[in-house]
Each structure stands twice: as C-alpha cells, then as structure tokens.
C-alpha cells in the first residue's frame, strides 16, 4: 500500500551540488549558469550603485553606533550582494520580511535611512509603515518572521493579484523550529514565498559546522517539497539571477522556493561583539578579499558597463546618503514617554489609562521641579 517516490520529483526539488556562480572571484565572467537568466546589464549597473550606497550606509551606521547615536547596529558588510539582490528581485507590490541585519536591503528597496534605523536607534517602533512599503518590521526573534511571510504570501494568493513574498533569514535562524514550520506550511499551501538564507558562516560566535550537519542548508527544501538552490552569495549576478528566478516562479504559481546564499559576515555580529574571540583574522582576510562589491565592479568594468565616472557618481550619492544620516541622526533622541501607552491597543484599557495618568502626573511634577 505504500507508494513509490518519483526520482524526478526529488531531483526537481534538490539544489545544485555546487553553489550557482556567474562571475569568478576576480570578476571574470563564468559560463552562464544553466537554467538561469542573467539579469539585464542596466539592472546590474543599478545594483552596483546600490551596493556602493549600501556599504556607505552600513559604515555610517557603525560610526553612529560608536558615537552612541544608535543603540546597536548589526553590519551586513560583505553581504551586499544578498542585500541588493533581495531588493531588486522584488516588485513594489511584493513583500519583504527582513531581519535586523537587512537594513541595506531596505535601503535598496527605497526606504528612508532614518526610518530604517529607528528601531536600532532605540525607539520602540520600526520607523516605517509596513503596509506602505510592503516591508515587515525588521525582525529580531529569529526565524519567527518566516512564518509571517508564509501567511502574507497566502494572503496575496487569496487576493489574486500576483504578489510574492521574500523572507530573509540567517544560517543560525534555520535551526529554529519556526523555520521548519514556515517551510512546511509554505509547501503544503503552495504559497508564493521565497526564503533566502544568508548563510554568512556564523550565528554570533557559532560557526556553521555547529549549526547544522547538512551537506548544505539548501538541502532542507526537499523535506518540505520546496524546490531549492544554493548560490554564491558574494556573486551579485548569480544571486540576483537565482532569487529573481525563484520570485518569477512563485509569481507564476510555481510555489515556494528556498535559496541558500553562501556569504560571510565581515564585521563582528554587532558593534557590541568581539569577533576575535571566535574566529581567526586570516579567515576574515580571505573573505574580505572575496568582496562582492569589488567583484561586481571588476565584472562590470571588464564588460565595459562601468566607467570611472559611474563609480564616482555612485560614491558621491553614497556620501550624500551618509551626510544625511549624520545630519539627521546626529542629535540626541527625544521620545515622549506617554506614547508608550498609545499603541498597546487601539483604545487604552482602563488600566492603561490609569497608568498613563500616573506617569503624566510624575512627568508634570518633574517638569515643575516638584518631583522626587
């Protein structure tokens, strides 16, 4: 009574055995990866510009953290190919579910730098309007957002207007039960959702080998009937090709897809982390040399798609963005403590109204200098 599994079905779900690549580390084009359409040249040039701006944004955010203007900042330096590909693979009407490390993807999606950094500055809210930007608040509890992404994908399917959801998650996040439940729900519902695992080698201090014994994380897809792929996440051309292809497939009703992008977190986990405690400088140096931005630049220059002027223009834009950040984020933060009560519920409960009154009285007394 037990049925045979078709080998073909399984093979259609398994990823490639080598990560898909389109450009060698030195920027030389490789043979076009089978089954993938390479992104248009103009898009690649645009991606380059966004990578330059994104990197500058990232560096500026780190500096602002050191100056105490942000509470914390998790850098995505080295992961820009994934970040930019995430933004560029989507249409406006699609949704993005980012983690705390995906500020650069949000920037490339068009969000305002100050809004992006609101939460990391120490506000209690995410800064932007998720519905307006079709971008969920950056998510901290690991992998929890992957299930929301499936729900939203199912909502889009129900509305029937063809939207797709892209959920970002880290290598560490794949260990959480929620990641499993998300893939499983996606598979069963046939939801138009793409999961992009940015495997940057570490979950804070924990290296991938202690995170998973899988041949590669992309091999998790088959267990859910979710098609999968692995890609060189420092190769923007390949990453964008693979993610865009998965998005197109989902849009066409082909169901969910899992992409593992192999990349590296060049900086420490956050400004508060000391990465020297758990990894060797040589390892970091090797990955710095495999920089996705330099690689794309060499590739584009090699193909004659990028001139000095374009690079300079991109850098100029980057400086403008950084300048704006310094200006707008340089001051002290001010928050109205009474706002704490405003958005717990649509209407405050009697209990909250009472507590708000207590705080208001305290603040009034303080303002008069009459408080304790």
């Amino acid at each position: 009574m037990s049925s045979k599994t078709s080998r073909g079905t399984v093979e259609r779900l398994l990823p490639s055995f080598s990560p898909v690549r389109a450009v060698a580390e030195d920027g030389v084009p490789l043979a076009a990866p089978e089954g993938y359409e390479l992104p248009a040249d103009a898009l690649l040039v645009d991606a380059f510009r966004r990578m330059v701006v994104g990197r500058r944004f990232d560096a500026q955010a780190t500096v602002l953290t050191r100056q105490g203007r942000l509470a914390v900042y998790p850098s995505s330096r080295g992961q820009e190919a994934c970040q930019i590909a995430s933004a560029l693979a989507l249409r406006e009407e699609d949704w993005l579910f980012p983690t705390y490390r995906d500020s650069v993807a949000l920037l490339a999606r068009g969000l305002d730098p100050v809004e992006i950094l609101t939460l990391l500055r120490g506000e209690w809210h995410c800064g932007y309007d998720p519905a307006a930007w079709r971008t969920a608040p950056q998510c901290t509890p690991l992998a929890t957002q992957t299930v929301h992404a499936v729900g939203l994908a199912d909502a889009l399917r129900r509305r029937g207007r063809g939207g797709v959801v892209l959920a970002l998650v880290g290598d560490g996040g794949t260990s959480e039960g929620d990641f499993h439940e998300a893939l499983n729900f996606a598979g069963v519902l046939g939801a138009p959702v793409v999961f992009l695992v940015q495997n940057n080698g570490y979950a804070i201090s924990v290296p991938l080998a202690r995170q998973s014994a899988a041949p590669a994380l992309a091999f998790k897809g088959v267990g859910y009937g979710v098609a999968s792929e692995q890609v060189d996440g420092n190769d923007l051309v390949a990453t964008l090709a693979v993610v865009a292809s998965a998005v197109r497939r989902a849009r066409a009703g082909g169901g969910p897809f899992l992409v593992e992008a192999h990349t590296y977190r060049v900086e420490a986990h956050t400004n508060a982390d000391d990465a020297t405690r758990y990894r060797a400088e040589e390892e970091v140096a090797r990955w710095r040399a495999a920089d996705p931005l330099a690689r794309l630049e060499r590739y584009l220059r090699g193909r004659g798609l990028l001139a000095d002027g374009d690079v300079a223009a991109a850098e100029e834009e980057a400086e403008r963005v950084a300048g704006g950040m310094r200006e707008r984020l340089g001051g002290e933060m001010a928050g109205d403590p009474l706002e704490m009560f405003r958005h717990v519920f649509a209407e405050p409960t009697p209990q909250l109204a009472e507590q708000q009154a207590l705080l208001a009285a305290e603040l009034a007394a303080d303002a008069e200098g009459g408080g304790r």
Partner: protein, 339 residues
C-alpha cells in the same frame, strides 16, 4: 431566544462572523471536515469552503504565525489551539509578535486576530489536556483575554473578539461546552468585551469569578443564601481589559470579597484581582480578600481532579472565613507553616 449549548453558541458566532465578513478565516488542527475535536467549527468548511475554514499542518507556532501574516495581509484569522497546553509551542509568536505588533509599528500594523483556546479541566482529560493558561496571556501586555461563562456570552464575546481591532485570546471553558443557556442573537447592545457583569446580586460579600468558576460561584451563592448569607457574584468575562469599576463598586458595597478561579493560584488572575480590590477598597473591607484557586500542582488527571478543582465547598469555606465573626489575621491560614 433559544436554549443552546456553549459549543453551539460558539459555532454560531463563528458562522455569523464568517457570513458578516468575507475576510474572516478559521483554521487550525482538525477544524475542517472534523469540525474540531470539540466540534466548535462543525460545518464551517461545508458552508464556507476550504478556503475559509481549513486544516493546517500540526504546528501551533506555525498556525499563529500564519495568522499574523494573514492579518498583515488584511484578513481576520480566528485560529483554534486544540487544547490549552498545546498552545505553548506558539508562546513566542503570541508574546513577541501578536501582542506587540501594533506597538512596534506605532499603530500602523494592527492584528485583528483571535486565538481560541479551550482551557481548564473537569472533563476527565489525561495529562496536558486540562491546563488553565489564562494568566500567561493576561500578564502579557498587548493581549486582550476573555472567557465566557454562559452560552450568550460565548456568542457575543466571540463576535466582539472577531470584530475587535486588537488580538484577543479567547479562552473557552471546556467543561461548560455542553452547558445550555438562552441566546438571543438579535440582542447585541454594547458587547461584553471589557465589561464584567453582576450575575447575582447580594449584600454580604462579593464573589468574583470568571469562566469555569462562575457556575461554581453561583452554586455557592445559592447554598450560602440557604444559610442566610447573600453573595453577590461578579463574572469578569473580560480579564483584559478588566472591569475594575464593576468589581470595586460591588466590594465597596458588600465589604467582603472572595476571588475564585480554577487555575493554580500563584501569580494568577485571582492574585491580580485580590491585589486590586484591596488597593481600591481597603477601608471598605471588613476582612481580607480571600482567594479560592486550583492548587499549585500540575493539573491532576481524572482520578483526583475533583479534589483539585475549587468547588462549592471550598468557596463556602472561604466565604465563612470572611470574619463575619472576626478572628484577626488567622483568616487565611489553615496551618501556619514555618520555613
């Protein structure tokens, strides 16, 4: 007006809510063709189709997470947790997301979803099937927590919950599923969400109860009346928001108060009510506010559950310890235990 079971009233509320709003979706484990293990969703798939009432894979965090995403996408999910203890896998989703979404988006992203949780014991269930978990949710800022004690409240509270702009944890007292009561579906005034109700007036002491403890309180009141003591029974219905006004007004009138809950007592909802009552009514109180609660033990399966559940006797014992005869500061302790 018709006499229906609480289960029937809940089923009717879901049906009417789904008829009223095409964006209301019902899903969870076995809620489709089976109609739920308690049959609360009976017939919904047949009437509304699999798109609107459907079975999910067996994963509670996934179910609640899916609801979050669907609510973000404009739907109004009503999910069922099969039993109280089986909502725990969804705890992170509930506490870190459901409860906080509105706040962390400055009110831009509300999650009008309902998490239905059959709770409590008294049905002879084996382990993990009789937990009372309302305090976990009530202690979590951002969640509304309600529980009906009658068929009528079951219907209107659930309608209120589905229409509420905020997430509501809807606790269904399992052992009252088959209790019958009147229900008038035409009679909606201001809904019960947020409003306690005086189920029985009385002048001698106030008994505050909710969910499965309400019928116990009422029975105790009937018994006490036989001994000449008139108890006023307040049914909270809504734990969050809590209707302080009704409770406080009653206790200031009666001067005495017993709080009854089925859940284990330590740091439960009854502790909150007792703390609030003495804060607000201290000088009206002739005796301490006493609590009658489940013991602080894992819920005991059938063979001894009757001894665990706060029953009429235990409520009356508390009532008669309310110093109608005055014995300072020995009211509570059955035996003083030194540490």
């Amino acid at each position: 007006m018709a006499a229906v079971t609480m289960a029937g009233a809940l089923n009717g509320a879901l049906r009417d809510a789904m008829r009223a709003d095409g964006d209301v979706l019902v899903f969870g484990e076995d809620v489709g063709p089976l109609g739920g293990v308690f049959r609360i969703t009976d017939g919904l798939t047949a009437e509304f189709g699999e798109e609107r009432c459907f079975d999910t894979p067996l994963a509670e965090a996934g179910i609640v997470g899916l609801a979050v995403g669907l609510a973000m996408g404009g739907f109004r999910p009503v999910v069922e947790m099969q039993f109280d203890a089986f909502a725990y896998p969804a705890f992170e989703q509930i506490v870190s997301h459901v409860a906080k979404a509105r706040n962390r988006t400055r009110g831009r992203m509300n999650l009008p979803l309902v998490i239905r949780i059959p709770f409590g014991g008294g049905i002879g269930g084996v382990e993990h099937h009789s937990d009372s978990s309302e305090a976990y949710y009530a202690h979590t800022p951002g969640l509304k927590v309600v529980t009906p004690a009658t068929a009528e409240d079951a219907y209107w509270l659930l309608r209120d919950a589905v229409e509420d702009p905020d997430p509501v944890v809807f606790m269904e007292p399992k052992r009252l599923y088959w209790a019958r009561g009147e229900l008038d579906r035409a009679a909606r005034a201001a809904g019960p969400l947020g409003r306690a109700v005086v189920r029985r007036p009385g002048r001698d002491a106030t008994v505050v109860a909710y969910g499965p403890a309400v019928p116990v309180a009422l029975e105790a009141a009937r018994a006490a009346a036989g001994e000449g003591v008139e108890l006023e029974v307040v049914d909270l219905r809504s734990v969050v928001p809590l209707d302080d006004a009704t409770v406080t007004a009653s206790v200031r009138r009666t001067g005495r108060c017993v709080v009854v809950q089925e859940a284990q007592g330590f740091a439960g909802v009854g502790a909150e009510v007792a703390a609030r009552v003495q804060e607000r009514c201290f000088h009206s109180l002739a005796a301490p506010v006493l609590r009658v609660a489940g013991f602080d033990v894992p819920y005991p399966p059938p063979v001894v559950e009757a001894a665990h559940l706060p029953g009429v006797g235990r409520v009356l014992d508390a009532v008669f310890r309310l110093q109608f005869d005055d014995e300072p500061d020995r009211t509570h302790e059955v035996s003083e235990v030194a540490s």
